[in-house]
């Protein structure tokens, strides 16, 4: 098991290098260091010397990938790519182009993201499973039909409408929670309610339908039929067999998501002015701050790979038949 995990981590390295190179190339095809300097120096009275100075200070005056001016290892190491990207592998994100410590920023902005995504996930699971189970229980009755129709209708509406509608309703008429913003500590509660609720409503259609399918599939299995034939009451069948076995695909599906919870939601965070990692990324794209973009892509990839490994492990835990070689 440990050997397996170790090997998976080794496998992850080339992927991370690949991610790094792709991000790097993408970004520098778009953005010359001159652009970045101009973006950072502001709009009025920017001279070419100032740009040059900015680049030299941050090491952006070097060649991108290959430095033919120096000898030996310097050819590879004295480049923008090496100087900026290699340190990522030890999670040293360095400083953003505007001069802030990225690791510190990430450690600060992680919590607001989690404050939205974790309750969102937990409440979501509760709601999806409940509704999915109800629909499966009432399968082929008009409760089921109405439920699925509502699901399809809800999933046909763009998420943006839920956000706009939610903000409009709560902000303008009901005065129940603040429209946007964030606070630390218990005060955060009132800011979190609306985004979590909107996220939940936006995803409930598709998810409930998917969970219903899982439960239905489980219900059509032989052991459930057998149990039913034995005369076990329907509720017991539902909770003891269907729910328990249905949890396997559900849980493994959720495990992949766990690490990405840190990243937060891009759209939701910028709409509700939540200072999490999602809005951090969007801002960095808009300000063309390469150091942050690169760090976030790297972080995202690492978390994704962790998610994959966790999924594999969780498979073995819930299903003893699967063994990791």
């Amino acid at each position: 098991m440990i050997a397996y995990i170790f090997r998976r981590i080794l496998y992850a390295l080339p992927i991370l290098i690949g991610v790094n190179i792709i991000t790097f190339v993408l970004f520098f095809v778009v953005n010359t260091p001159d652009d970045m300097a101009r973006m950072n120096l502001g709009q009025k009275r920017v001279t070419q010397e100032a740009i040059q100075k900015w680049k030299t200070e941050r090491g952006y005056d070097k060649p991108l990938l290959w430095n033919s001016n120096t000898g030996g290892a310097g050819k590879l190491t004295d480049t923008i790519f090496y100087r900026n990207s290699v340190k990522l592998f030890v999670f040293d994100f360095g400083r953003s182009d505007s001069g802030r410590d990225i690791s510190y920023d990430i450690s600060q902005r992680m919590w607001p993201s989690l404050a939205i995504t974790v309750p969102g996930l937990l409440l979501g699971l509760l709601a999806y499973i409940t509704f999915g189970l109800i629909l499966a229980f009432f399968r082929a009755t008009y409760v089921d039909i109405a439920g699925v129709v509502i699901c399809v209708i809800m999933m046909s509406i763009s998420g943006l409408f839920y956000i706009i509608g939610g903000q409009y309703l709560i902000g303008k008429f009901l005065h129940l929670v603040p429209i946007s913003g964030y606070d630390i500590g218990p005060e955060a509660f009132k800011f979190v309610v609306l985004p979590v609720l909107v996220g939940l409503i936006g995803s409930i259609g598709a998810s409930t339908r998917w969970y219903r399918t899982i439960f239905l599939e489980e219900m059509n299995r032989d052991y459930v039929r057998t149990a039913r034939a034995k005369g076990i009451p329907e509720q017991q069948v539902l909770f003891r067999h269907v729910l328990m076995n249905g949890m396997i695909p559900i849980l493994t599906g959720v495990v992949v998501l766990l690490p990405t919870l840190f990243i937060g939601s891009l759209v939701m965070e910028s709409f509700f002015a939540i200072p999490g990692l999602g809005s951090y990324t969007i801002d960095a794209i808009n300000m063309q701050d390469f150091a942050i973009v690169r760090s976030m892509v790297f972080l995202g990839s690492v978390l994704y790979i962790i998610g994959l490994i966790l999924t594999d492990i969780s498979y073995t835990l819930v299903d003893p038949r699967v063994r990791l070689e």
């Binding site: 001159d34 009275r45 009901l174 129940l176």
Partner: protein, 720 residues
């Protein structure tokens, strides 16, 4: 009601009653409700709070309250008047010729060899409490020799337990001026000031040679006190002298800007210690000044908090104002020591709509008006004057308007073959376009009438602006019935024919003329603007292609001069016509000299007049030169003069001493808040509405009934 539901509902109700009387949607802690706190928002994260680098209004919001340059603008008087801030009086320049003889103020620019400004500051001004000044019992600086291990443990300035202060001295001002030459600090005005301040360029060269810019460890401190510079010297503890190489009357305006704020060497030394900047502890993040406020929380991801500086000397509120200021209650606080508020809290608001709604709910004291909420706030009466809607009036909100000292223009690249150059053909084309671009309609659609169509480069309120019939641009407008009337499209079409584009067609191919507009605009509103622009050009039969790019790409195009038509704007640095005419001065051409003349306009006569005009004092003769210059550029039409936006701002009834001041950045100290009134209003406006939640709850219960019926039915039916 099923049991679990009932429990939930009870818990919900309990939490409702547990809450205090303060509104539910209050984004701030309830405990703050009674405090003397000013709430505002910011939409863009400040990048530099170092006064030598900062050059944008979103940063001035903060550092304007913290740093104190020698001079400031009078808060109430118009036209804008310079008054001392830390200085004892506004300095008079001493002009000296080559032989060292004193000259009078109206001496010709050519005769003047040196200009001296001697500035005396008030004694007894103290810096804000700051660890850089902290000393132990023996008088040594506590935090000037920090170990790397210690630096690792700090994250903000508050982690330093002891603070100290010291008196402001003249050498602090000199130190800051020398920082313009600092090899590791970027100052946007270094190039401009290097041309004027004696010895600044030499110092920059010297420092650049001595300290390699490439040093990987940026922590070494450059003790600028050890470098002499002729143009900036401290005479004694309270007096310093700035020497310019040529006559530059506008220099006094620069003395109100943070580039000339004092910088204590202790702070520079403190922040330069190894590892500090890696912990985000730098001048860019933690300013240190003598002003009425100090920055106590710097979290650009969420909020910035300014707090009253306990060491502030208590500058009195102005005792004189403009006519009418006394009647409108602006002089109630006259002579009282400022500031009036204890804390100013700025929260991050990226989206305009939530910010606007929070203003309406009473959670911000002031607000601008975005175009889309304009009709909600303002309506025009029969005379065309802006008035608040009854909704706003009921809330006790007031409106202030002011024509800004900015201009939004559309420029032609004068290097372009089709629209540029000195040919009659291109000039007529430019003028035809000037006529059909209906800025009156633009202002009414996109800014709800909040703008003044420009007649030339100078906005109202700046010396040289001429109002009324004499001030209209005769190539675009005609004076009709007491107001300026845009010339007709037919006239423009005649010009097109004269230019060789009958009906907007190119003579050779017969195809419509295709012109390209470069703009950095993007985002939700831009599509409508693009559509509108195309509609304007189509009046002449011209096919306008809009090349929208990001701001970087746009900058690059402007630098290379590959754009054809472009949109840009300029915000005045100081209230002087020179600050607008220099945008058309030939030597400032963007392509040739990387200057601010984005149209790359070059006209010898104009340039000559500009050189004469720029150093003159505001008198009749200057007006005459300005009139000539305006006539030249109107004739050549390198810009569509665009419009000058009018700023509308709203504020609540508990917000006092509000007067728009477009030049001053340090206006926070004048503001007074009445927290009790605010608390009452907030509670009145934000009653939570519960019935829809109740209705929703009942609906859910109702939806469950069929499920329960189906369940019962199934219970009774035999196994499937």
């Amino acid at each position: 009601m099923p049991r679990p539901f009932r429990l939930c509902f009870l818990a919900l109700m309990a939490s409702v009653s547990a809450c205090s009387d303060s509104p539910w949607n209050n984004p701030y802690p309830d405990t703050e409700s009674d405090s003397n706190i000013y709430y505002d928002s910011f939409s863009e994260q400040p990048r530099h709070l170092d006064p030598i680098s900062s050059y944008s209004s979103n940063e001035y919001v903060f550092i304007g309250q913290i740093y104190e340059p020698p001079l400031q603008y009078h808060f109430l008087k118009r036209p804008y008047e310079l008054i001392p801030l830390t200085a004892t009086k506004v300095p008079e320049p001493d002009y000296v010729d080559k032989e060292g003889r004193a000259l009078t103020g109206d001496a010709e620019a050519g005769e003047v060899f040196r200009v001296r400004y001697r500035i005396t500051i008030q004694p007894g001004i103290l810096y804000q409490p700051h660890p850089a000044f902290a000393r132990n019992a023996t008088g040594d600086y506590l935090y000037h020799h920090l170990s790397a291990a210690y630096v690792q443990t700090v994250h903000t300035l508050e982690d330093f337990a002891v603070v100290g202060t010291r008196e402001l001295t003249a050498s602090d001002y000199v130190y800051q001026i020398k920082r313009m030459a600092h090899p590791r600090v970027h100052s946007p005005v270094a190039g401009l000031m290097g041309k004027y301040i004696l010895g600044l360029e030499e110092l920059a060269t010297r420092l650049a040679n001595e300290y390699s810019v490439q040093a990987p460890d940026k922590s070494t401190f450059i003790d600028l006190r050890e470098y002499e510079m002729e143009g900036a010297r401290a005479i004694d503890k309270y007096t310093f002298e700035i020497t310019l190489q040529e006559k530059y009357p506008q220099f006094l305006y620069w003395l109100t800007m943070s580039f000339f704020a004092p910088m204590p060497w202790e702070a520079d030394y403190f922040y330069a210690q190894p590892g500090m900047s890696d912990r985000n502890i730098s001048l860019d993040w933690f300013p240190v000044g003598t002003g009425p406020f100090m920055l106590t929380e710097n979290n650009p991801n969420r909020r910035m908090v300014l707090q009253r500086n306990p060491n502030f000397r208590g500058e009195p509120f102005p005792t004189e104002g403009d006519s009418g200021d006394s009647e409108s209650g602006l002089l109630v606080d006259a002579g009282l020591p400022m500031p009036f508020i204890d804390t100013a809290m700025f929260s991050l608001e990226k989206e305009a709509i939530p910010a606007w709604n929070k203003f309406l709910q009473g959670y911000y004291e002031t607000s601008g008006i975005v175009s889309d909420s304009f009709d909600q706030a303002v309506q025009f009466n029969a005379q065309g004057e802006a008035q608040l809607t009854s909704e706003m009036q009921d809330k006790g909100i007031s409106l202030l308007t002011a024509v800004t000292s900015s201009t939004f223009y559309m420029g032609f690249n004068m290097l372009d073959d089709t629209v540029g150059g000195d040919s009659e053909r291109a000039r007529l084309l430019r003028r035809a376009i000037s006529i059909v671009m209906d800025y009156e309609e633009f202002i009414s659609i996109f800014s709800n009438g909040r703008g003044v169509p420009a007649q030339g480069p100078i906005p109202p309120g700046i010396f040289g602006y001429v109002a009324g019939e004499a001030g209209i641009n005769p190539y675009v407008y005609a004076w009709d019935n007491g107001k300026a009337k845009r010339r007709s499209v037919a006239e423009a079409q005649t010009l097109m024919t004269a230019a060789g584009y009958p009906a907007g067609r190119e003579p050779q191919s017969g195809q419509p003329l295709v012109l390209n507009l470069d703009t950095p605009a993007a985002g939700p509103g831009s599509k409508a603007i693009f559509d509108w622009l195309r509609k304007q050009f189509a009046k002449l039969g011209i096919n306008l292609v809009i090349r929208a790019t990001d701001y970087n790409r746009f900058q690059e195009k402007m630098l290379k001069g590959t754009a054809q038509i472009f949109q840009w704007g300029w915000n005045a640095d100081y209230p002087d016509p020179e600050n607008f005419f220099f945008l058309l001065y030939g030597a400032n051409s963007k392509v040739d000299n990387n200057g601010e003349n984005a149209a790359n306009y070059k006209n010898e006569e104009f340039d000559q007049l500009f050189n004469q005009m720029k150093n003159m004092t505001n008198r009749q003769q200057r007006q005459k030169l300005i009139d000539q210059m305006v006539e030249i550029v109107r004739y050549d039409a390198p810009w569509l003069w665009g419009y000058h936006p009018v700023g509308f701002s709203l504020h609540h009834s508990w917000y006092r001493n509000a007067k728009p001041n477009l030049m001053a950045n340090n206006t926070l100290k004048y503001i007074r808040i009445q927290p009790l009134l605010r608390k009452e209003m907030r509670a009145r406006w934000n009653q939570p509405v519960w019935w829809p939640v109740g209705v929703l709850f009942i609906l859910i219960i109702a939806a469950m009934i069929p499920a329960i019926i189906a369940y019962r039915k199934r219970e009774r039916s035999p196994v499937l």
